[in-house]
Amino acid sequence: MNRLCMLAVTTALALLPQMATAAEKTLTVGVSDALSGGGAVYGEPQRRAINLAIEQINAGGGVHVGEDTYKLKTIEYDDKADPTEATNVARKLIDRDGVKFLMGYCCSASTGAVASIIGREDVIMLVGTAGARAITAAGNDNVFRTRPPGDYSGAAAGRFIASKGVKRLGVLATRDVALFTQYRDALIEAFEAEGGEVVALETFGGQDRDMSAQLTKLRGLEPDGYFISGYVEQVAFAYRQAYELGITAPRYGFSGGSAEQFLSVASSEALEGVWDLIAIEFNADALGDTAKAYAKAYEERWDAYPTPNSAFAYDQVYVLRDALEAAGTVELDDVKKALRNLAVPEETVLEYLPVDGKMFDPKGQAYISNGAFQFHNDKWDFVTKLPSDSAAYSAYFQTITK
């Protein structure tokens, strides 16, 4: 026992001079994400993307803040996409680890819980994939989000569907997830503004996998287009059942699932030709060379292809670097101000549509381009960008709080 103590003390003493003479400073960022459970499909890729960006920045010489040069490092916790767990993680990061910058945040429920308390804390919170509108609509001055709210894409999608010549639209959508209901409402409003008619709005619940009855009803109303939105699995079941009901009119959707996820539920025949109208997350075909470089680096580092949502987190790190360098200090108020006036960083993967030349609007919300993807030969093909209007949406966004 004694000898063990001695050993520990000697080791500590041996390390001490090294630490004292380290020339450069370290800035720790806290990462809170779903690393296990159902949300891990979004959270773990975000964690990897953050680490990739940090390694790239550190290898490139670190972050130059005024006189100092900082190397970035992370403290990571699993919030399991659970509100209680995420709140505990935030407390741990802020109170025990003394972290000033939080990032990650893939899922709406957990992130929403943290966002509701974070306004009173002296930290900056950078939100990734979590889509619930209230996270930034609430208007905390220390919350910044790279992913746009769902209804922003919904309006663009509504205009797009009308532009494809659809006059009578049958809508089938999940009824109890804010992201999807807000998108759907915005879509209907924009579609009707373009002169279209919604023949019926049918809904399904969180556990439903059988939408045959709703689809049969819509089929009877003979719309010339369908819009189906919800989580991937449910939308895939709806496409499968639409196929079984012999529905052939164009089917537009909003779910953002991968081709594999869709094919695990429905056959390629059932999926051929369906549309997904979503914000353009990472996609090597739709986005140019930066995206290809990102995919290559990510694959080398993690031996896996990046998921679409991972870029929201990757971009966070470059946003933070630019803001720190622009502020010239790590003082929170100055960094916040820098974030508000930030131009889109050069290295970001996604295509941001700045408002007044600034990446984040007054509520800390960023906007990206929206795209139309069509399922063809067992994969999603990028077809075209949607008519997005970030300035108009942002003006509306400033007037709401949830």
């Binding site: 809904t203 009855a213 699995e233 079941f237 196929y243």
Partner: protein, 289 residues
């Protein structure tokens, strides 16, 4: 309009036939032992997972995999009866109730541990769709109706035409008299649990082929099963058959003619209606015992 009506009827009958399979198992257990066997849905999911596992691992077809899973399910049912319910057969009913809840948790969690959290869809290869005058009949759904009908008929024959089936009904209708006839109530209990679990597994497989086997599905199945029991009459076999189909078709029609938001409310409205108007259930005579 007529096409839609027939289409909804078909949709409803397919779902209803699955409800019937679930309810048949619940009703014979309730009839014999007076137990609300909540774990039935988890047993059904276990069967669905197992079938998927057999198909994936051994490359056997759907029907052999389903048959083996039903046999394993029957065995599991017998074990549940012996280990969990038999020891409390003479205790107050609250004991069996608590055990039923505990079993539900245990089997549900065991499914998670063994088969994981991901949803599983049982591959069938039945992708064709038949179209008869505008009414579309997907191959898989037609087979599901057929399989359910076959199992219901087989079970009805078993219960009505065999000595074992007669013993099952005797115990359900008058337990002391059944003992006086020389019927071994223990054997009947085990048989009933085995039969019921095999039917539950069949329902789980059909759900897994048509939709998915996943955590959370079992709870919904059991709730629908008990709704059917109350509709058709507790412990009544014809009641479970009619009740299941009535519930399935009502849900489809409710979606079509009322609102899809109220689809799940329909089960409970029907239940309340039946309790108010014919509390003994659709298919039960007023008891004259």
């Amino acid at each position: 309009m007529l096409v839609d009506l027939i289409q909804q009827l078909f949709n409803g009958l397919v779902i209803g036939s699955i409800y019937t399979l679930v309810a048949l198992g619940l009703t014979i257990i309730f009839g014999i032992l007076g137990i609300a066997h909540f774990a039935h849905g988890s047993v059904a999911m276990f069967g669905g997972y197992l079938t998927f596992f057999f198909i994936q691992q051994f490359g056997i077809g759907l029907f052999p995999a389903m048959a083996v899973a039903m046999a394993v399910g029957a065995l599991l049912g017998v074990v549940l009866e012996r280990v969990a319910y038999h020891p409390v057969r003479n205790a107050p009913p609250i004991n069996a109730f608590i055990i039923a809840l505990g079993l539900t948790l245990i089997i549900e969690k065991a499914n998670l541990l063994v088969f994981g959290v991901d949803q599983v869809i049982i591959p069938t290869g039945f992708d064709r769709v038949f179209n008869i005058g505008g009414v579309t009949l997907p191959e898989l759904r037609v087979y599901i109706l057929g399989i359910a009908a076959f199992l219901v008929v087989a079970m009805t024959i078993l219960i009505n035409r065999t000595w074992m089936g007669m013993a099952v009904r005797a115990v359900a209708q008058n337990r002391p008299a059944a003992i006086l006839m020389g019927i071994n109530v223990n054997t009947v209990s085990m048989f009933v649990f085995g039969l019921s679990s095999a039917l539950g597994v069949a329902a789980g497989v059909l759900v897994g082929a048509l939709f998915a086997v996943a955590p959370g599905v079992s709870g919904g199945l059991v709730v629908k099963g008990f709704a059917v029991l109350i509709l058709g009459g507790l412990g009544s076999i014809p009641g479970a058959i009619i009740g299941g189909l009535v519930l399935g078709v009502s849900e489809a029609f409710a979606s079509a003619f009322v609102s899809s938001a109220y689809k799940d409310v329909i089960a409970f409205l029907l239940m309340i209606g039946v309790l108010l108007i014919k509390p003994e259930g659709l298919m039960r005579r007023r008891s004259n015992r």
